[in-house]
Amino acid sequence: MRNNVRELRSARGLSQGQLGEALRVSRQTINAIETERYTPSLPLALAFARFFGTSVEDMFHVDGDSEGA
């Protein structure tokens, strides 16, 4: 599943470790999500969206969905 976690994180000047600490997941999990090796659960996706002040649909996109939702 495509996502723009890396862009949002970089824009805020956060490291993967800092973001992981804020969301109570490991740095490796943040890396796995950014590199699209792991799809987060709905609660974690919601936590991402709340943290960045956006919506889940704007952050996570199903492959092949040109609308990005």
Partner: protein
Amino acid sequence: MSTEIQKVRNRRIHWALPALCLLSGIGYLIAFSIGGNLQLGLEAFGVMVVFAVGLLVFGGRSETIRGLGGADRDERFAMLDLRATAYTALVLIVAILGGFMYEVAKGHSGSPYLWLGVLTGVTYLTCIAVLRFRG
């Protein structure tokens, strides 16, 4: 859960698995000693001590070792654990079926593989029945 409580919990978990390894080692030592094989008991105890020390030394640096110990285990590691457990169970099921067929082919009753297979099947069906109601 507050960060402080989480830290205390992680500290306890950090020591839990090494302590369990040491207890297992002591158990092996006692069991081998009762069976009259003190040398093997000491070797098994030594292996468990090395394992426990390895967990303590490398647990702080490796996500894998920390996750195995239960500390800092997030949803991704929980999923890895679940999948690893499923793969392990598959290997065990194949080994049990193979052992059962081998024993039966030799003209034996198939024990203990028969009972291990029954236990596995009953456990699986019970889990499916219970988990269905939990969603």
